[in-house]
């Protein structure tokens, strides 16, 4: 497989999509592809070469290939808009705060014992004298 060869991917999630061979990976039958597919290594057995081939630099950038697809094949590739990475808020360890020494409690003033109030003496009413019996 030559660099710049236009292919159709026939296996996997990108099957049926067109791609360009960008570079040959040293090991085995692997090549690097980019285009409508994701930019990734691919087995040659999973590619069906088409007639067309283009002159592409070895390991060309994704931007070059987007331009080439637009010019030559009139295919506009969707570019992924990756969100800027936000730094995760780091969790600060809770530092143990030493408890402040307790203030000694103020001793309550002992209340002066008040003398118990003298109970009111209840004066029993004298029993009414019985009615004088009629003589």
């Amino acid at each position: 497989m030559k660099i710049g060869q236009l292919c159709v991917k026939i296996a996997g999630r990108d099957a049926g999509k067109k791609c360009l061979v960008i570079s040959a990976v040293e090991k085995g039958n692997l090549v690097l592809i980019d285009g409508e597919t994701r930019r990734k290594k691919c087995n040659v057995a999973h590619l069906e070469p088409l007639k067309q081939s283009f002159s592409v630099k070895d390991n060309a950038s994704h931007k070059d290939i987007v331009d080439l697809f637009k010019k030559e094949l009139k295919i506009t590739l969707k570019e992924k808009k990756s969100k800027p990475k936000k730094e995760r808020p780091k969790k600060a360890r809770k530092q143990k705060v030493k408890p402040e020494p307790k203030k000694p409690k103020k001793e309550k003033k002992a209340k002066a014992k008040t003398e118990p109030k003298p109970k009111k003496e209840t004066v029993k009413k004298a029993a009414k004298p019985a009615a004088k019996k009629s003589e």
């Binding site: 159709v8 026939i10 296996a11 999630r13 099957a15 049926g16 069906e48 088409l50 007639k51």
Partner: protein, 91 residues
Amino acid sequence: MVQGSRRSRTLRRVHKRTPGGKTKLRFKRRNPSSAKCSKCGATLPGVPRKLPLKMKNLPKTKKRPTRPYGGNLCSKCARILLIEKARSENK
């Protein structure tokens, strides 16, 4: 007397242990047959055999392979079809 519809084997029989310790016979619907390739008839391993009630609750990615023609054609037939398309484009 057994209910008439229960005498047929359309429903599968499941022995369930009750909280009281006894085993009871329950009747449940059988799982549907496995999905087949529409071209060669081979079973599709990526499609689960589950009742529609459970399939409804599965995520889409677990119902079929994510490749084109996934869930309809087996990988071999899909590959052949894509190669044919590419070659016809070449002509």
